[in-house]
Amino acid sequence: MKHTISVLVENKPGVLARVAGLFSGRGFNIESLTVGETEDLAVSRMTIVVGGDDLILEQVSKQLNKLIDTIKVIDMTEKQFINRELALIKVNVNNGNRSEVMQVVNIFRGKIVDISSKTFTVEVTGTDDKINALLELLMPFGIKEMVRTGAVALTREWQKEDTKKNR
């Protein structure tokens, strides 16, 4: 099962290499990894989506915690959290289907951020499910290029007692 783990680390050189090395060295599977600054410039937040059973996930958390540069490890999957990904999708269009593509993009609350005679570049944010769904609908038009950021996530401020998961 997929878990979204948020790791607060010291913002200094080599920390990303330590985390990446830990995953490759121990054979953990990274689905996506994002990293960036936080409200505290001395701290970075990594959002890592990782697959595996409970035993593996327990090891992932413990091993991350063991790194000297790690400040905090939060397994979001145990909490309610907001999860977003950004994708830029360059899709082929022609005179016949331009408006159809625009409709699809609108339904997903995406934005067309670049336009040429033959392509639209669509910006869309959401959970990976939402982006996957949009991709599936755009696929028939022909996707020229695409980039996805990987998930970023924050826990919800208000946590319901008994719901385990919410996307």
Binding site: E10, G14, A17, R18, G21, L22, G25, L55, E58, Q59, K62, Q63, N65, K66, I68, D69, T70, I71
Partner: protein, 562 residues
């Protein structure tokens, strides 16, 4: 007063209580060695290879429990430390490695003797530091020692560019180490300890499974108290040998692949396993699918990631073995377990560790003689292979830190330099390096380091002309296809010892063993090497084949009768 970076490093080492460092200089390390030249407190021991320096620092740490320090230059000097760091890391040994680096402005330029040492050593150190700014140096050294010696101990590397070694700054000794993100848990959770005590108090067939963590925590006394109060039998890992007396009536022997049948059978039959300072290594558990199916498991370890890593634990306790055991003993009731002991004694009787003295001189006999002659009062260092297992099986270790061996990484060539480090640490102790003809040749260059410092190490080569452990596997599981294990073309070890200025002897018969050992023990101003020509195809038994359940051992009888 202003000081150079190199001087600050040396002063920090002095203040950390370091008296010896092992190492080899090189271009980028000259300022460091220049600062060591002036130190009145630190003795510099020049080794012949950086791997030797690392294992000496490691051997010192294992013999004393205090961190060992090694120093190497940039590039090849640093990469030569790699095996030594990995060895210490796998066995959780506190060690500080200082490597010189090319000047900061050249880092990343493929400069002469440059290597990305931080990148290379990241997965084999507990932590490593590149010091780019002299302002951070003193604080970094403090943190390095703090990290190496607390929590689950391990090696820490400091990479020091030569311009930082030469830069100057006002030296301020940081009195306190403040690391807000690094706080290892030492005190076990009291409720968990209570739960563990309840499990122990109702168990009918408890087993204590202890390892190197007992030595790191200095918890031998507490372990003994727990065993004696609860009446549980004790099995030890290879690295745990000595943490519980080998002559104690409750000692079942070593666990695992070449452990005693009794200890493995007891683990399999137990209804409760109390694991302390051990990590359910594959060499101990054998096939996990069949491991200890009837047992509930209490696991006490300083490292949370060791708990439930391979075996699901019922009562986890994260903490220092000494404090946790002390509390646990208080909460346990006195038990004797006569029925359980009847079973264990039955196994002990049925499955002793045996060997046949027929034919050529047997390696096991040599070890037994060393034990009898020293009455167990010696520090035994080993290399890795068959001789290592025989040293574990046929010598009884009563005192902590008297068995020094590379367990996790299994580093051949470890024993000789480690015995040198141990002899520096314990100048008055009788120290053996039990070795094979293969392992000995892997760091043989350090013979001269031992001679130079008049170290009276006894080097025991159990010479069978093979890389014997691999040969044994090939014999038993690879249809006797002895690929790449014949090392019968070898130097004359006696002459080699003499060439180095050590004493060399050769023994081929049982009746010569005692006299040669007695002679060696009397020599106190140089190393002595004894080349024991032993039976070529002797096997280490019992043996649990890799991937088999720990109850399915090949025993002495199986092989003798085959």
């Amino acid at each position: 007063m202003k000081k150079k970076g190199a001087e600050i490093l040396v002063e920090c080492l002095e203040r950390e209580g370091i008296e010896i460092v092992w190492g080899i200089p090189g271009g980028q390390a000259i300022p460091l060695f220049d600062a060591l030249y002036d130190s009145k407190k630190i003795k510099l021991i020049l080794t012949k290879h950086e791997q030797g320096a690392a294992h000496m620092a490691d051997g010192f740490a294992r013999a004393t429990g205090r961190p060992g320090v090694c120093i190497a230059t940039s590039g090849p000097g640093a990469t030569n430390l790699v095996t030594g760091l990995a060895t210490a890391y796998m066995d959780s040994i506190p060690m500080i490695a200082v490597t010189a680096q090319v000047p900061t402005k050249l880092i990343g330029n493929d400069a002469f003797q440059e290597a990305d040492v931080i990148g290379i050593t990241r997965p084999i150190t507990k932590h490593n530091f590149l010091v780019r700014d002299i302002k951070d140096l003193a604080k970094t050294v403090r943190e390095a020692f703090h990290i190496a010696t607390t929590g689950r101990q391990g090696p820490v590397l400091i990479d020091l560019p030569s311009d930082v070694q030469k830069a100057e700054i006002e030296f301020i000794w940081p009195e306190k180490v403040v690391m807000k993100n690094y706080n290892p848990t030492c005190k076990g959770n009291i409720n968990q300890i209570k739960k563990a005590a309840e499990e122990i108090n109702i168990a009918k067939k408890p087993v204590i499974y202890a390892g190197g963590g007992i030595l790191s925590a200095g918890a031998s006394k507490e372990l003994k108290a727990l065993a004696e109060k609860t009446g549980a039998p004790v099995g030890l890992t290879l690295l745990g040998l000595g943490c519980f007396p080998g002559t104690h009536p409750q000692f079942m022997g070593m666990l695992g692949m070449h452990g005693s049948r009794t200890s493995n059978l007891a683990m399999n039959e137990a209804d409760l396993i109390v694991a302390v300072g051990a990590r359910f290594d594959d060499r101990v558990t054998g096939n996990l699918a069949h491991f200890a199916k009837k047992a509930r498991i209490v696991h006490i370890d300083i490292d949370p990631s060791s708990i439930s890593k391979s075996v699901r634990v019922d009562v986890p306790i994260v903490g220092d073995a000494k404090t946790v055991l002390a509390e646990l003993v208080k909460q346990c009731v006195s038990r004797k377990h006569p029925e359980w002991w009847a079973k264990i004694n039955e196994w002990q009787k049925a499955y002793p560790i045996l060997y046949s003295r027929k034919g050529a001189l047997k390696p096991q006999y040599v070890i037994e003689q060393i034990y009898e002659l020293t009455k167990g009062k010696a520090i035994i260092c080993t290399e890795v292979g068959q001789h290592q297992m025989w040293a574990a099986q046929f010598f009884k270790y009563d005192q902590p830190r008297t068995f020094i061996s590379s367990g996790g990484l299994g580093t051949m060539g470890f024993g000789l330099p480690a015995s040198i480090g141990a002899q520096f640490a314990k100048p008055d102790s009788l120290i053996f390096d039990i070795s094979g003809d293969g392992s000995f040749q892997m760091n043989v260059q350090e013979m001269i380091t031992a001679v130079e410092h008049k170290l009276p190490i006894k080097i025991i080569i159990l010479n069978n002309g093979y890389l014997g452990m691999v040969r044994q596997w090939q014999q038993l599981f690879w249809k006797k296809r002895y690929a790449g294990v014949d090392i019968s073309i070898q130097p004359d070890f006696v002459k080699l010892a003499e060439a180095y200025g050590a004493v060399g002897m050769r023994v081929t018969k049982e009746e010569e063993v005692r006299a040669a050992l007695e002679k060696a023990i009397k020599i106190n101003d140089r190393p002595t090497l004894i080349d024991f020509k032993v039976a070529k195809e002797e096997n280490v038994l019992p043996m649990v084949p890799a991937g088999a359940a720990i109850t399915d051992a090949i025993d002495y009888k199986d092989v003798e009768l085959a």
